[in-house]
Subunit: 143 residues, 2 copies
Amino acid sequence: MPAKTSGSRSSAAVEDYLERILELINTKGYARVVDIATSLRISQASVTNMVQRLDAEGLLKYEKYRGLVLTIAGETLARNIARRHELLSEFLQLLGLDQRVIDHDVEGMEHHISPATLRAIEALTDQLRRRPALLARLQGAAS
Amino acid sequence: MPAKTSGSRSSAAVEDYLERILELINTKGYARVVDIATSLRISQASVTNMVQRLDAEGLLKYEKYRGLVLTIAGETLARNIARRHELLSEFLQLLGLDQRVIDHDVEGMEHHISPATLRAIEALTDQLRRRPALLARLQGAAS
DNA sequence: TCCCTGATTTAGGCATGGCTAAGTTAGTTA
DNA sequence: TAACTAACTTAGCCATGCCTAAATCAGGGA
Ligand SMILES: [Mn+2]
Ligand SMILES: [Mn+2]
Ligand SMILES: [Mn+2]
Ligand SMILES: [Mn+2]
């Protein structure tokens, strides 16, 4: 595994971990292995493994048996994926989709949205919010 | 590897292979290992491997050193993913995004769109086509 | 018919990201 | 302070997919 200065793109798994870790820190103040595992519905062993990898990649600081904190790089990535999640979710909510469907689809789609696409969907969402009539016409297709 | 009667969800890789195979068959009448490899930019060895797996899963019929044909199940899946690709692509084109960005994002997103979301985006696309004014207001954010 | 060569397959590896089972650690509690 | 236990780590596996290098096959030309 190279030193990973800044080049390599993050995988969907890495993004999901960082997103969840940030969320846990924001809601309960810390993110322990067991919390992350429960939240992502994977084993504690898998979390330990990934956390050690994220530490090696400089996305968080980890002390064995103790705890972890995101680095600036890690928090930046986490906020970025969180934003994609949030925006996509709002967009699909506007279309009247069932929240379970939204949660499922967004969790996958969020990893494949480039900045330009994100901006475009954001702009569209803004416009749609001002056009309830148009949105009403969409409801027939929802969920 | 279980018999795979019908239950297990297809992976993104499987969907990409099937989509490309169908496209090759539609454009040049057949899909050879070398064509699939070139088209997906992966090695011929990887294609042979996957093709044998798809045969085992009943998604296509494969004769070693000869050729392959999609089964009904395989063609159904292929048409399904092709449709998701097409629809997402049209939607993003409407938003004025650069085609390279679209191709890249769609290739990833298409694997995470459930039927309900697909219908909703389809309905939205239909409505947007009739509202050039609204779309014009979006162009500032594009690519 | 025999050979050449492009197409294909096989063999062996590697990275990612999961899992279970079996220890280890450390904070709480008696 | 000694032990209990929840949290954590380690060890060893597995599936998915992709790779390169080394065979093998098969169709067309000499
Ligand atoms: Mn996700
Ligand atoms: Mn997410
Ligand atoms: Mn794809
Ligand atoms: Mn596609």
